[in-house]
Symmetry: C2
Subunit: 382 residues, 2 copies
């Protein structure tokens, strides 16, 4: 049963729960921070992949927002979002779908980080007789894609190619390495590194006589702890809408802020081993083990009662496809709770983006209530 008349007691398991009270608090927190900085937030919708969540996280029903796939762009565009950044380097073969969306009135911006990609975008723009807005990706931290900040010749070559076809919109960067920081101070330093890389590159483009109206930065950790955002025109962040154990491990949120959890049912016990078996395996949780590299490894997640209260040191320790093994943290002095067959539990996940992607819908409830107030569908694919 997944109808809006359901409760925690009647839901089939495993399923994905969304605590809207917590989600709203998370949204308001970052909105407040961005308002204080005077910078526009462009929420990244790769985390929710749901129009219902998108409407609550965006500043207006039209956006702005960022997406990680053209499928997301198409789905959100169909629901009325018109200001979208496709924040992954665009493959030339994907420009047909980009142009189809732009032809339907969606202001979709693409990202490039090479002369070849810029030329492909510029060539299509000339063929179409209309610019395709593009941001140049800057590699602020060696994390993945982007022009190196010192490579000014390359940066300007790309900028000129884009500008020549009316496509140059600005620069963007993402401090993915902020996920590896070990203190809030380090996150704030990373935010400054992210800001400086983007602003320096924007200034170099402007010094060459070219326009650079957009300076886009962001990751959930840096968005929350940036000391200043001078020169930045927009901040992107995604996972903050739900948060997760990786973010809690970084100190960006507390476990009580985490809005998305997996509801599961006890299906067995191995008393000799101190194991409780549940019907949430890796299919329900994903294989993400993002806390494995953090000081406190949460294995496949923290175990809570059905109402969301965390059991001390109780972890989803191992997963098969459709079974999970719950046990106490190694070395814990806590007592294994008595959780009979059929008991419902919630698992707090490592990584909201990955866990939510395993589910087709959110069962929405409010903090402190067992009533499911809404069923919000997710989509997926490319």
């Amino acid at each position: 049963m997944t109808a809006a008349s359901a409760t925690l007691d009647t839901l089939d398991t495993p399923c994905l729960l969304l605590d809207e009270t917590r989600m709203t608090r998370n949204i308001e927190r970052l909105n407040g921070l961005m308002a204080r900085h005077g910078v526009q937030l462009r929420p990244h919708l790769k985390t929710p992949k749901s129009i219902e969540v998108a409407r609550r996280v965006m500043a207006s029903p039209q956006g702005p927002a960022a997406v990680s796939t053209l499928q997301e762009a198409e789905q959100f565009a169909a629901a009325g979002v018109t200001d979208l950044l496709y924040a992954v380097g665009v493959a030339p073969a994907k420009l047909d779908r980009v142009l189809a969306l732009r032809g339907r009135g969606v202001n979709l911006t693409v990202v490039v980080d090479s002369i070849q990609a810029a030329q492909a975008v510029a060539e299509r723009a000339r063929q179409e007789g209309a610019g395709i807005p593009a941001l140049i990706e800057i590699d602020c931290d060696g994390h993945r894609a982007g022009v190196q900040p010192g490579h000014t010749d390359q940066l300007l070559s790309i900028a000129r190619v884009l500008h020549g076809a009316g496509c140059l919109q600005g620069v963007m960067t993402h401090a993915g390495e902020s996920y590896g920081c070990r203190s809030l101070e380090a996150i704030a330093d990373m935010a400054e590194q992210e800001r400086l890389a983007a602003v320096t590159c924007a200034d170099a483009i402007r010094a060459d006589g070219l326009p650079c109206p957009v300076v886009s930065v962001g990751s959930t950790p840096t968005a929350h702890f940036a000391r200043n955002l001078d020169g930045v025109t927009e901040v992107r962040a995604g996972v903050y809408v739900f948060f997760d154990l990786v973010m809690a491990g970084l100190g960006v949120c507390s476990v009580d802020d985490i809005a998305a959890t997996v509801l599961t049912t006890v299906i067995g016990h191995q008393p000799d081993k101190g194991w409780i078996l549940v019907d949430a395996g890796w299919m329900a949780m994903s294989r993400d083990r993002g806390t494995a590299k953090q000081p406190v490894d949460q294995l496949y997640g923290l175990v809570c009662d059905a109402d969301g209260k965390v059991y001390p040191d109780l972890l989803l320790a191992e997963t098969n496809q459709e079974q999970g093994i719950i046990k106490l943290r190694a070395g814990s002095g806590a007592v294994l709770p008595d959780l009979p067959l059929g008991t419902k539990l919630r698992i707090v996940p490592n990584h909201a983006c990955a866990t939510c992607a395993q589910h087709d819908a959110y069962e929405v409830l409010h903090s402190g209530s067992r009533d499911i107030v809404a069923h919000w569908e997710r989509f997926r694919g490319w």
Copy 2:
């Protein structure tokens, strides 16, 4: 484009490719082995989750087959499969859906491993006035669920509860620890351990005067290397239909047997680092790192050209949500191939069950051809 008129060149990426030539060879190999043993194969459909694949892997359109969720049972039942084992310990709250399927003529068998679960099944069977066939799970290797082979009192108590309500069908076990074996000899030993645990428990039930017609064992490794299957009535295996790098690392198959791969496109380069960026991230591959514990860690997968030829020592080394970083294996003397923007590649995954679950369909082709001959949908959920 995902129509049957597509080719490797026109497919949008990332997407899931299925080499039907290899799949057919894999199916025929295990069918041949089981025929030699004279034992029925019950293929596990949790890997394909596709009726098109199911029809090719099952002995008849009606089955037999195993499933890991009731959603699978319902989907395959709707497509005409009538002999199904739900091979995960059943939660009492799921018996409604079990009975609904049985009421539609599906011979669905459940699994229990405790008195409590057996009582729940027996009670519902009495209420319905008809037995619910159940197998008792045996823990042959300490891997997850099941009655310990030495706990004969517990085994017989469960058997009596089930028999009293006309539910006792037999025993089942799964040697999940075979995935950790380091030689084919060790796998064959594990197969014998799996067989012996099941047969011994079946004999104990029969010695108590109770029936035990079904003795069900299996995992892909043990199914392929069992020396004998005396006393076993059926073997279950799933991932063999596609195989994957974990199975290749175990020596159960070769890389050239792996039928399911992910097609991806080059979207950028970081030449200073020897990185090639592609549009297959963890969303397309899953977060599964099953080879991490093996002697040769394949990271997120082996990289092939679009036609499936493996590049020496080229790995999908890191993944973000929608981006992957390809680089040479550490210490390799191989030369990074020149793969320009837009080049299509195939990635051979660690774990077929997990990677396929990230996709909604298979794009089917034959070995040596670039034509997509079919588009087979997958389903998911619970």
